[in-house]
Amino acid sequence: MNEALQALPLLFSICGVAQASAGMAACEEAQGIAATGAERARRSLLVAAEAVREHAGRLLLDWPRLFIDAPPGLEDLAVLHRSVVALRCALGGGIWQATAGGVPPDMDLSVASEQLSEIDAALAHGVFAMSADDWLQIRDRAALRQWYRRAPTVAARTLGAVEDCRLAELGRSSVGVLPRITSGTFSAVLDADTADRFTARPVWDGRACETGPLARQSRRSLVAEMQRLQGNGLMTRFVARLTELASLPRRMGRYLQVMHGGTGRRTLRGSGGGASATQSGTGIVETARGCLVHRVNLRGGIVERYRIVAPTEWNFHPEGALVHALLALPVTGVQELRRRVAMLVVALDPCVEHEVIVEPAPTEEL
């Protein structure tokens, strides 16, 4: 089991902290171990920091390239990368402490606090042109439009370009968002005979669903208004991503406060089990790209089966949000088609490299 936990952040290093955290939660549940509140806060803080890095990567690398023909915001993103690494080091090291229920690592919470301020400042400078907290006071479309018409950042200019180029509703579809699902429900699905099909092509209540920032932020007033006015197209998805990014520094601050409160003791829930006992656990982590689920089945401390449902499998499902959006695309010439497909893919943010290939449909014979 420990080998599996150590392998996770190495194999899945794009979102290695989230993967390791989900694996850790699954193994702890299997062993009947409950992490302390402080330890849960530490993990959540590191997952949130990774989400800041990933969201900012899309905003500062992909958006300028695709929407405003501007150079990437490398300087601001480099600051964020450095701060996220420093924060991780301050909270126990660059490599996840991959032992289920392990003792808390050496930490320097004052350095972590400084790095949190650096992240907040970098977002204010490079993304929002104001503090993230102030940006969250934008609660309707009129105020949002004022912001993106005045702010000089890549993110604001991108939203302006989306409106000017009439792309706001690009990708709009009837695909709903994935609701919050309990670990017990996922456990049953992932232990069923059909689990392999589910991990490759997950559906909920028989339907493909969207996971990620839009699913998580859809109750915020601004995102809800955008969704009501323009559906789940590019503009709403981008606003949801910005909203989530703006909310992360404050949430990270709250996690840090919990950590200041003390480490406590981990507790054993007493599921027990002898050397040959079967134990199972599920870990769910909300990553930048969406809901990530790990399911582990142990026998005598050895991993008998391990299943992962990644967010990309939901969003890029054959009946999911991307495919619905692609099927509704107007054909506007190969170059423009390729550009619009790239926009839709970036809006859903897959965790893998992608390439757009446009092929003419085969001619039907009469």
């Binding site: 392998a7 190495l10 194999l11 899945f12 290093s13 794009i14 979102c15 890095r53 990567g57 690398l61 992909d62 990437p72 490398l74 993103l77 480099a78 990368h81 450095r82 690494v85 490599i95 392999d196 991990t199 490759a200 299943r307 992962i308 990644a310 990309t312 499998e313 965790c351 893998v352 490299e353």
Partner: protein, 81 residues
């Protein structure tokens, strides 16, 4: 899923760029997000940018894991999930 194979830096280029090698395939990437990268270092690459530099031990362990997965995959008809 987001498996990330370490890429070895083969040559440093102008404009904060580098030539990398992944399994014999060479690609040009940006080093704009990481610091102090030298020839021979391993980096994790995402959408054309190095996003992390690995220490030698971490890179060796990661490459060994991928080699083990490929070898086990070739020995069975199943998919890697």
């Amino acid at each position: 899923m987001c498996l990330a194979i370490p890429a070895r830096v083969v040559r440093l280029l102008d404009d904060d760029k580098a030539l990398i090698d992944i399994g014999g395939v060479h690609n040009e990437i940006s080093l704009g997000l990481v610091e102090d990268v030298a020839v021979g270092d391993y980096v994790i690459v995402h959408v054309g940018y190095a996003i992390a530099r690995l220490d030698a031990d971490e890179a060796d362990r990661t490459l060994a894991l991928f080699a083990q997965m490929v070898s086990e995959h070739e020995g069975s008809s199943g998919e890697i999930h």
